[in-house]
Amino acid sequence: MSTDNVLLTMRDVRIDGYSDDRWHHIIKGVDVTLKRGEILGLIGESGAGKSTLGLAAMGFARPGCKIVGGSIEFDGIDLLGLSSAELRRLHGSRIAYVAQSAAASFNPAHRLLDQTIESTVAHGIADLETAKQDAIELYRDLQLPDPENIGQRYPHQVSGGQLQRVMTAMAMSSRPDLIIFDEPTTALDVTTQVEVLTAMRTIVEKYNTAAIYITHDLAVVAQMADDIKVLRYGETVEDAPTREMISSPKAAYTQSLWAVRALAKPPQPALDTILEINQVHASYGKSVKVLNDITIKVPRGQTLAVVGESGSGKSTAARVITGLLPQLEGEILFNGSALPRALKNRSKQQLQSIQMIYQMADTAMNPRHTVRDIIGRPLNFYLGLTGAAQDQRIMQLLQLIELDESFLDRYPDELSGGQKQRICIARALAAEPELIICDEVTSALDQIVQEGILKLLLRLQKELGITYIFITHDIATVRAIADQVVVMFQGKVVEQGGKEEIFTPPYPAYTELLLSSVPEMDPDWLTQLQQQRAEAEA
């Protein structure tokens, strides 16, 4: 037992991971100091090692990883020197873990309440009845609906946001000294995220629990953490108190992370319409309608952002435009003439003019085709190019997307995330289209890479006059790239208009909810929002 305030000390921690028949260095000497009741935000891009470091703070290494150096001290106890039985005594009692995917982390065969209090009872911290009552109180604190009975449900009967809060209750049940939150809100919609963040922060403050909050979202970490540590390629880039880091980041990398959100496209007046969606209804099979009386006008040479959360119908709209999902009613006019509903009825010309770029570049490219094949095929298929002419055009396209000829013979698994998405953009450009539908193309990318892609898209639009329909759920991206905005909710269009118009109050109720739920870089934002909403309800 240590007497001072320091709870967790990690010194020069080194962790290796095994992949491709070799051991790689994942964490290369990182120090962490955490005091009781303090929240440390751990941010970095994917692959920076945040999750691995978070698990190491518990003394845990996933299969395929091993801790090869350094020391990890929890409350004076050397975690690396403990036997597995002793380590297990700490897990679920003094150190708890909240995983990213609540749906996958709950056992589908047991009730929520049983799983919530399981480790508390197993470690002898409380008896069954006390633990149960306490769990119900925790559910209440976390703002879960029907706290008395929700514990009787099974994981699949409860929504994602609610499950994440139950997982927080499960972690809190044994009153641990330290909780590790591993990207807990990454998979949630922004309106759900706000509720979960509020709930988490309230309860961590109430019981004065120390926490490590892992995320890649800067605005979120600004709300939750007292200190922020930035990780990159397994090393610490910068480590400072939150307010200090937000207002004046020192390292160049940190500064570039912050700068991403500053991108904003100046608005332009609308010209004529390239695509019109008139009173379209669509559904999958005979079930519920996914699109209900949608009318959208897409201005030529500009970017129309379609904003909505999961279930809003924005991706379905894309499928209807491309002809993958023939609409039930209504029509779609492209350059004034009606597009045939089904894909197979469209002409090559029509198919060529509308191209699509996908969210996950990993699955958008055939892993057995080289870059040359991927970009070359549309050139061959639509424009009939072969041989030297084709190669020349491929080189031009590569230059357009800011890559060089060394990429020609690479396979997709030899490219980074940003490079993959650029190749997909080149593939779309190869067809020389008039309209490109970008379906959440930056959502799966890291912040800096996102900025690069957005800048590229804007430049291409200026040079080639392409129209974009940009589907996204991220408001910052909309500000960065859009001229016109369409807000969708549950298959209906809530409003459509110019960017400035949409982002200026007064808002329809859903837009209000959506915009206000987007976290901002101000550490006090969440507190202020809570107050606002409490006042509004009173």
Binding site: K66, L351, T363, A364, G418
Partner: protein
């Protein structure tokens, strides 16, 4: 170490961290993979090569003809008849060698036919995913509801046992399993965005099958070929053993076991005689074990299971 920031601090896409694999020739790749193979896989590959050689060069290797009858039946092992003669006075050793050619040949032909039928139907079902898929899947479900050995027995009793009938019947019955696997594996690929991208381009069905789907489903199909071969091989051996498979005088390992099974009871007097019917059975087992070892290793390579280290 690559960093996306060029010396002047700005971002450059081509400098992002990636892992480019070294480019090697096909032979170099094969040699690298072979070097990491465990001893069981090596054993398997050597055995398979041995069997294939015997099967191909049977007429050159066998001392006598497969149906050639000599005067002495049930002769003991000797220099002239390495494994003795059987009930009709035919040389067991020569029949063993010809048996390799006949049994393996029929098994390979059957497996190829099963893959042709099952594989192409499975691909079509996965791509169309409409009424064709439903009809084929239901049909296959029904066929698979009857145990294949029983079904084969029934069909053989009606159509008679000839090599051609055997090949067709077992190929059709086995094609059901190949159909199921091809369909499942192809379905995993069909839902990928790159297949949808190809459809959006306007690519035809054949192009999508050939260039998008097929290259990505080869590993599980190759493994399945090995497993199906084993199953077909064992089934044909079992049917021949039961007397309804390959008919005499064609040399076949399964029927050889049956013909000489009576010798087992002489174990305490003449062990070699008792072992005579066991040798063709052991030959069947050895090849199946070898193929199973190789397929097991292949699956381990391609699935990339993460184990404790």
């Amino acid at each position: 170490m690559n960093t996306p920031n060029t010396p002047d601090g700005s971002y450059s896409a081509s400098n992002e961290v990636t892992q480019v694999k070294a480019r090697r020739s096909v032979l170099q790749n094969i040699w690298r993979t072979l070097k990491t193979a465990p001893p069981t896989a090596w054993f398997g590959m050597i055995v398979i090569t041995l069997y294939l050689t015997v099967a191909l060069f049977a007429p050159l290797l066998a001392p006598h003809g497969q149906a050639q009858v000599f005067t002495m039946a049930y002769a003991p092992w000797s220099d002239e008849f390495l494994l003795g003669t059987d009930a009709l006075g035919r040389d067991v050793f020569s029949r063993l060698i010809y048996g390799a050619r006949n049994t393996i040949g029929i098994a390979v032909a059957t497996t190829l036919l099963a893959f042709l039928i099952g594989g192409s139907l499975g691909l079509m079902a996965a791509i169309s995913r409409n009424w064709l898929d439903q009809v084929l899947s239901r049909f296959v479900d029904v066929l698979m509801a009857i145990p294949s050995l029983i079904f084969a027995l029934m069909l053989l009793s009606i159509f008679g046992s000839s090599a051609i009938n055997l090949i067709f019947i077992i190929a059709v019955l086995d094609a059901t399993r190949v159909f199921r696997l091809t369909r499942a594996v192809a379905l995993n690929v069909v839902v990928m965005d790159y297949v949808e991208a190809a459809k959006l381009r306007g690519e035809g069905l054949v192009w999508i099958m050939r260039r998008e789907i097929l290259p990505n489903i080869m590993p599980p199909l190759v493994a399945e070929f090995g497993l199906r071969f084993c199953f077909v091989f064992l089934t044909i051996a079992a049917l021949s053993f039961l007397g309804v498979g390959i008919q005499p005088p064609t040399a076949d390992w399964g029927s050889m076991v049956r013909e000489n099974a009576g010798l087992i009871q002489f174990a305490e007097y003449d062990l070699t005689a008792a072992l005579t019917p066991m040798i063709p059975a052991a030959a069947i087992a050895l090849l199946t074990v070898a193929v199973n070892f190789v397929v097991d290793w292949f699956l381990h390579q391609t699935s990339g299971l993460r184990d404790e280290h």
